[in-house]
């Protein structure tokens, strides 16, 4: 599954902040942790703030804090904020009357349904707990592997 850069940043930031509840984390620290562009990350963090997932505080000691419900917030909730037109909707193809297009649409709908089921059932807290069970910190769990 290919996600836009902003979507991946949003997932990383949300999970990292949720794993450090009540902590004010600066965007610079998050950007350095994941080796990503701070400018892009700040735009993503502001989008998450508007969505009520994180809150921000200005000034010395300020930063971003997770303020959502980690046990209820799913990957689907985050992804759907940033991916427009996703998941695909193949209903038009199914109803087009073309049997080949209809069958292809049915297969693509099957993929979407399974993908949605996965993303709607994985909460932020589940990601954090599974990473801890595996002995990984959230940041280390999602860092790109060295080539």
């Amino acid at each position: 599954m290919k996600l836009q850069q902003a979507t991946r940043y949003a997932i990383w930031a949300t999970i990292e902040l949720a794993a450090r509840p009540k902590e004010q984390v600066r965007a610079q620290e998050l950007a350095e942790t994941y080796a990503i562009s701070q400018n892009h990350l700040v735009r993503v963090l502001h989008a998450l703030t508007r969505a009520g997932i994180v809150s921000s505080a200005r000034g010395p000691g300020g930063g971003f804090t997770f303020c959502g419900n980690a046990k209820r917030l799913t990957l689907f909730d985050i992804i759907s904020l940033f991916e427009t037109g996703w998941p695909g909707n193949e209903v038009d193809n199914v109803q087009s009357g073309n049997p080949l297009a209809g069958e292809l649409g049915r297969v693509l709908n099957e993929v979407d349904r399974i993908t949605q089921a996965t993303l709607r059932s994985v909460t932020v807290q589940t990601i954090i707990n599974n990473a801890r069970r595996a002995g990984r910190t959230p940041a280390a769990a999602y860092l790109p592997k060295a080539s």
Partner: protein
């Protein structure tokens, strides 16, 4: 019969949050069937009568109930059975549910923990289940317990009956 398992909720302060998980008795089954109907919206008497059939066949079927102040608030059912394709026997979760209003207080987690402990005691090294792809709530709970997609995918097709 294994000793009962206790859990104390970490939410809903002020409530008597003690949950006791133990093996179901015959006397519990009507309440289990009724609770299952409230949760699933389906009367599954045949499904629950499976308990007697399986026990009659000599299979070790585990049926657990969770109670708070003596009232049945949850159930879990599973058994160890062979997987039909290239995998050793594993623990199967057939049903798990908790009454609305008693959720998010670790009752389901305690049921699951006890069920997995029973499977482990029977030598299993894996737990499996099949659930509705659109039942995101149950899937979310099972994932929160550490379950993930396995190496098998369920496929099916309708079989049209000949009508004379």
């Amino acid at each position: 019969m294994a000793a009962a398992t206790h859990a104390r909720a970490d939410t809903a302060p002020g409530r008597d949050a003690d949950v006791v998980v133990a093996d179901a008795t015959e006397a519990d089954l009507p309440a289990v069937v009724a609770l299952d109907e409230r949760i699933t919206g389906v009367v599954r008497r045949e499904f629950w009568s499976h308990i007697d059939a399986q026990r009659a066949a000599g299979n070790i079927l585990t049926v657990l109930v969770a109670k708070r102040e003596g009232k049945l608030i949850g159930y879990a059912m599973g058994e160890v059975r062979a997987w039909p394709v290239r995998a050793p026997a594993c623990g199967w979760i057939y049903a798990i549910g908790v009454e609305k209003g008693h959720r998010l207080q670790r009752a389901a987690s305690t049921l699951m923990t006890e069920l997995v402990a029973r499977f482990k005691a029977q030598g299993c090294n894996a737990v499996r289940t099949i659930i509705d792809v659109d039942d995101h709530l149950l899937m979310s709970f099972l994932r929160s317990q550490g379950m993930t997609a396995g190496p098998f995918v369920e496929l099916e097709m309708p079989i049209e009956q000949d009508h004379r």
